[in-house]
Amino acid sequence: MTWIESLTLNSPSGFWNPIVWLAFLIVFALIGYLIYSRGNRSYKPNTDQVKPFLSGNEVEDVEEIRVRAGDIYWGFIEALKGYYNALMRMHTGDVRDYILWYLGLGAVILFVLVGGV
């Protein structure tokens, strides 16, 4: 058994060999490079030339125009605005705030459960 054969993994549906995989990768990378090298080199990156055409209108940031999954809850959030506004103020994204809430609420629970004894 040669070293290449020793790397081959046979299965009922075919075989897998990293050397063959690598050979294919090199061939396809070369083909890709050939196509790439025939491209227009005079294009100007970071200008409108590389942006999609939207009838001459400015392409807005994707974040501004996409429909987010959270938008499904728009009705709830609008109806319970008072509640959500208070929650959102508390939801700072700072882990230290959450730990403080955890410790504070933990202390209250402990006080309720064992404080009176």
Binding site: N40, R41, Y43, K44, Q49, P52, F53, G56, N57
Partner: protein
């Protein structure tokens, strides 16, 4: 007039209409109809400036359209040429000095060929596009020179 030398590819044209009354636009369409049939020379209207070699602009440009026209011009790949069709785009025409006009087109983007007329005949438009083709061939050679 110079000669087209290499005919390396078809010439794709993008048409942007500013504040045109559509007379020039109709004459551009006439150039595509069987009587003139510019597509047989490979001159074709395309739907995006990203695919275009030449930009045809008609009409005086209203203020709101000026930035859009600049963007369309920016989006065209190099080498490119701009052809202004009709008097309104060339000088402002009857809208000259109007409060809502951003100015003749050459005050907004660089223009290579002017085709005057109200509206110009399709033969004149075809002649303008061929002049733009010559300009592009020249620019292309310059670009190749830079590459080499």
């Amino acid at each position: 007039m110079g000669k087209l030398t290499n005919f390396k590819r078809s010439l794709w044209v993008f048409h942007a209409s500013g504040g045109s009354c559509n007379a020039c636009d109709i004459e551009i369409i006439a150039a595509l109809t069987p009587r003139y049939d510019v597509e047989r020379f490979g001159i074709k209207l395309v739907g995006s400036p990203r695919h275009a070699d030449v930009l045809l602009v008609t009409g005086a440009i209203p203020r709101d359209f000026a930035d859009k026209l600049r963007r369309i011009y920016e989006q065209m790949p190099d080498p490119k040429a701009v052809v202004v069709i009709g008097c309104c785009g060339t000088s402002g025409g009857v809208f000259y000095d109007s409060y809502n006009i951003a100015g003749p087109i050459d005050e907004i983007i660089p223009v290579d060929v002017y085709v005057p007329g109200c509206p110009p005949r399709p033969e004149a438009i075809i002649d303008g596009v061929v002049k733009a083709w010559l300009k592009i061939e020249k620019l292309e050679k310059e670009l190749e020179g830079k590459k080499g």
